[in-house]
Assembly symmetry: C2
Homo-oligomer: 138 residues x 2
């Protein structure tokens, strides 16, 4: 491998040389170098899924218009919809006050979940106590 090859950015580069350094400095990454990404449908306002991003995934998400994640199970970059066609087109992206969570608003093509449901939360409703207004003290 030549010195030029060694210096070239690659998909697995942890440094993500393309990511705005000012933004990179604001990120508070977990021990795996990842931040949480909450994905919301820009039209229905439903929360579709949660993914994870390293610096390179965030850089690609912000510059290509398509949501790109780091797959923790496959340990690789993952352009959402690359194989399924169920692409997420980015409408907006925001970083939270702690710098460890992103909110993406997207136009979702097809179902967001690999089970072919609209969201990854469909069918997962839990039994929960819901207080009546008169029981609420705050």
């Amino acid at each position: 491998m030549s010195a030029a090859d060694a210096a070239a950015p690659t998909a697995s580069s942890p440094a993500a040389p393309g990511l705005d350094p000012a933004l990179a400095a604001r990120l508070k990454r977990d021990p795996q170098g990842l931040v949480t990404a909450v994905v919301q449908d820009a039209s229905s306002r439903r929360v579709l899924m949660v993914g994870w991003m390293d610096d390179e995934a965030l850089h690609r998400t912000l510059t290509t218009g398509r949501a790109t994640y780091w797959s923790r199970s496959r340990q690789e970059l993952w352009v959402k919809g690359e194989t399924s066609g169920h692409v997420q087109y980015v409408r907006s992206a925001s970083l939270d006050c702690d710098g460890d969570t992103l909110l993406l608003e997207v136009d979702q093509i097809g179902p967001a979940c690999h089970r072919d449901t609209d969201t990854c939360f469909d069918g997962g409703e839990l039994e929960a106590v819901v207080l009546h207004p008169e029981e609420r003290t705050a």
Copy 2:
């Protein structure tokens, strides 16, 4: 400490004896024993914040009607709004297909963020490429 005291459930009990064992078995916790909780305003549909829950926090959230988290910075259970009054009353809770993320829909009293903004994402908008419809290939 008597044997009875040692066996009594406490706030810091990792086993959270109160949590439905069938639900506990579905959770895929991170190395710190936590799952991600995405919090959405039930009325405005805005994503307010992301918190973290251990089994006990989830148990309390589902049984008290008030969102309760595990504070990773303070390493303690944290009833949202306990000091600020900015309580989150639970409207629904769902577990995602992977078992590692919860979605809470809540009635938020006051601002959700400690900075007194409606959400933790306010003011954090990032510059992002948004593809025009004719540039979208999927």
